[in-house]
């Protein structure tokens, strides 16, 4: 038993610290004499959160299987015969187990470094208290999501990180493109969120009574890591479970920007680069992968689900990489790369290796945050994101150039950098399944081809930005390194990008990944097949880097000839396969038509009925109003008329009715 396990019960401190930071900076940040002080408050709080997070992770490494719950029942339904014979309760609590500790480590460390980096990067921006408050709220929600101990609590934090992402993408809300990118991100992920919620309902209806102690529902949907999944991975095949699994995949695809819900992530680059590094590279987009991993370990996917997940992951890994190949914007190249890498993780989870996917999530978070922060350093220095205006920056920004190169090598999968170990592990894991699941072949090959593209596009970006004799656009300002607050995170993350992949060989660390039954592939096993596979993928990566150097190295700019047959392909890639146009078209044609029909019904049928009654009564009362002449003789006449009517009724109508009824 580790001495740090007593800390597990205090895991709730991590989100709480960030909520405090959010409240302090959000409420008082604007009144400070210097707005950067609010940033330092956020840095201090996220530093404290990081200390707690790291201590918890170390505690998990020392004694991996233990976990602690702090539970509060906020909804309790008494037993109802028929539906819930055992009652039903919803709890709020924290779950500290190896997986959540792994994620907690990533989120708090990257969160702290990004917060520190922001002090320098956001120095010139307006709205600083808002920025730090929103970033703090995001970290609170993200750590809450990681520590959530049941699916509904998970969903609440899932929505919270989504709304924080919306705020931060639209941080420069005066810019129309930023405002519309924020809306797009929110709406596209919302499609996934609705599917996720429906998936929860389906699992709920299936498993409400299943499992220990009166069923999953009676226990508040609490995650039970380490136990056997409800559906043994890859075996069950109930239609309901398959649909539920697909719905969960939809939610994960929305959050993790997997095909076909990938369109929002490149546009999310409208936000500050620090936000891209933290939310759209290291943490929030990984939440979808985390969800898939947790679901596969806890609930399990059916065989059909697994194939769909493999297909989506493998296809996205290749598909997103192709778009990164031609893009001129440094941030968007990295964004496509993020989508592609998330695809690798999804591929691994679909093939039944959830832990291998999480291993890649862990290494990817560090080197991708590093790439974004290095890109941010460049953007901070030269004020443009266009790769074709940069060039020759390595002379003036040695640290940034080195950091970007390390991140690029890690991403490309060159040993011994972090990405090599985890990406290779994914390929080896999927390869091991090809014998029993021949349907995985095309997606394995797509992912394998993605390795070449990955190496090519990231080094194309490096050569365009840093190599060559001089800057291409002479109007750009003189490049310079950022202040120390920007350099320290680059150095620390570079360190992680070099060694994070090797963590898995440390004693203790694999404990974070060795959780649950049926976990294979951690730590990577290197037999003859795996070594051949690694050799092939490293060769592909090296070829990609070589091609990038040949076309773009030393200040060369490769221009595709107009007559080249590849020209239409290039245009298609630059147009992002027209996905955005297609969605806009669907939005305008289909949704707008439905909206117009609904508007017609609303205006003419519903409002028409209401207004019709209104007009009828107005007309009748207008007529009736005229008998109120105010002249007494008229009133006397009405009295006489009424009297006559009474006589007529009494003397003529009443006897006639009595006669007709034959009354006595």
């Amino acid at each position: 038993m580790g001495a740090l396990n007593g800390l597990f019960g205090y895991a709730f401190l991590v989100p709480l610290l960030m909520v405090a930071s959010f409240a302090i900076v959000g409420l008082a940040g604007g009144r400070l004499k210097r707005l950067e002080w609010g940033g330092w408050v956020a840095v201090a709080f996220s530093g404290a959160a990081m200390v707690v997070g790291v201590l918890i992770s170390v505690g998990e490494m020392l004694s991996p299987s233990s976990y602690t719950n702090v539970q509060y029942t906020w909804l309790h339904l008494p037993p109802a015969p028929g539906t819930f014979p055992n009652g039903f309760e919803l709890v709020v609590g924290t779950l500290v187990d190896p997986i959540s500790a792994l994620l907690l480590l990533v989120v708090t460390v990257v969160g702290f470094l990004v917060m520190l980096y922001s002090i320098g990067y956001m120095h010139h921006d307006r709205g600083l208290p808002r920025y730090y408050a929103e970033l703090s709220l995001f970290l609170a929600a993200m750590t809450g999501l990681v520590l959530a101990n049941n699916l509904l609590e998970f969903f609440v934090f899932w929505e919270l990180v989504g709304v924080c992402s919306y705020f931060l993408i639209g941080f420069y809300y005066e810019k129309p493109s930023a405002a519309s990118a924020a809306k797009e991100a929110f709406l596209v992920t919302r499609v996934g969120d609705v599917m996720f919620l429906l998936g929860i309902f389906l699992y709920f209806s299936t498993y409400a009574q299943a499992g220990p102690a009166g069923g999953w529902a009676a226990n508040g949907f609490v995650f039970v890591h380490g136990a056997q999944p409800f559906v043994p991975v890859g075996t069950g095949n109930g239609t309901t479970l398959t649909i539920a699994g697909i719905l969960i995949l939809g939610g994960a695809a929305g959050k993790s920007a997997q095909f076909p819900l990938h369109v929002w992530l490149p546009d999310a680059m409208e936000g500050p680069t620090t936000v891209s590094a933290l939310i759209h590279a290291a943490t929030m987009v990984a939440a979808g992968v985390y969800l898939l991993a947790v679901t596969s370990l806890f609930l399990g996917f059916t065989a059909t689900d697994s194939l769909v997940i493999v297909a989506i992951g493998g296809f996205t890994a290749f598909f997103a990489a192709t778009m990164a190949v031609v893009h001129p914007d440094i941030k968007r190249v990295i964004a496509y790369s993020t989508i592609s890498q998330l695809g690798y993780m999804v591929l691994a989870i679909g093939a039944g290796f959830a832990m291998v996917g999480l291993y890649h999530l862990f290494t990817h978070a560090f080197f991708k945050a590093l790439l974004f922060l290095a890109a941010g350093s460049v953007i901070h220095a030269v004020g443009t994101q266009n790769l074709f205006q940069m060039g020759g920056l390595k002379k003036r920004m040695r640290l940034t150039a080195a950091a970007f190169a390390i991140g690029g090598l890690a991403l490309a999968g060159i040993p011994p950098f972090a990405g090599f170990w985890s990406k290779d592990d994914i390929l080896a894991a999927v390869f091991s399944q090809l014998g029993s699941h021949p349907a995985y072949w095309p997606f394995f090959l797509l992912a394998f081809a993605g390795v070449f593209l990955t190496a090519y596009y990231i080094f194309r970006a490096w050569f365009l930005a840093f190599s060559g004799p001089t800057t291409r656009d002479p109007t750009l300002p003189e490049a310079h390194e950022g202040p120390w607050v920007m350099q320290v995170p680059l150095v620390v993350l570079s360190g992680f990008a070099v060694v994070a992949g090797l963590f898995v060989f440390l004693p203790g660390f694999p404990g974070l990944l060795l959780n649950g039954a049926g976990v294979a592939g951690i730590p990577p096993h290197y037999g003859t097949t795996e070594l051949l596979l690694s050799g092939a993928s490293v060769g592909l990566a090296a070829a990609g880097i070589g091609l990038a150097w040949f076309l773009w190295g030393n200040g060369r700019v490769f221009v595709l000839p107009e007559s080249s047959p590849a020209q239409p392909v290039c245009r298609l890639l630059l147009a992002r396969y027209h996905f955005k146009e297609a969605y806009d078209w669907v939005g305008l044609r289909a949704v707008y038509t439905v909206a117009r029909a609904a508007d017609f019904v609303d205006q003419y049928v519903i409002d028409g009925t209401v207004h019709g009654f209104e007009r009828a009564f107005a007309a009748i009362s207008d007529r009736l109003r005229r008998i109120q002449s105010g002249i007494v003789s008229d009133y006397a006449a009405y009295v006489v008329a009424g009297l006559l009517l009474v006589f007529v009724l009494l003397l003529l109508v009443a006897p006639w009715i009595v006669a007709r009824l034959g009354g006595s």
Partner: protein, 105 residues
């Protein structure tokens, strides 16, 4: 008296009532309207007197006494009515009911 036909008396009072109603509905002069009301009221008093005589006995006394009371009522009514007419004339300078339509408001 008993030899007189019932139809004639009822017709007489119906005629008086019709004349009174006609006056109330058509006249615009408030005094003429008051007079018409009196005429219509006389139709009712005449009915009491006639049916009292027609029935005879104890009911006859009752009917005749009511007729006497009604005559008193008519007198007070005229007094109040004329007072209103005077007051109206003082305030508005006219007793034409067509020109006083404040009730409409």
């Amino acid at each position: 008296m008993t030899s007189l036909p019932i139809v004639g008396f009822v017709a007489l009072s119906a005629g008086l009532l019709a004349i009174g109603l006609f006056g109330v509905l058509t006249r615009r002069n408030l005094i003429l309207i008051l007079i018409s009301v009196e005429i219509a009221m006389n139709a009712a008093i005449l009915n009491f007197v006639y049916f009292a005589g027609f029935l005879g006995g104890a009911p006859a006394l009752r009917g005749q006494s009511i007729a006497v009371v009604l005559v008193g009522f008519a007198a007070t009514e005229v007094a109040v009515g004329l007072a209103i007419v005077l007051a109206l004339h003082r305030v508005r300078g006219t007793i034409n009911v067509a020109e006083t339509s404040e009730l409409r408001e």
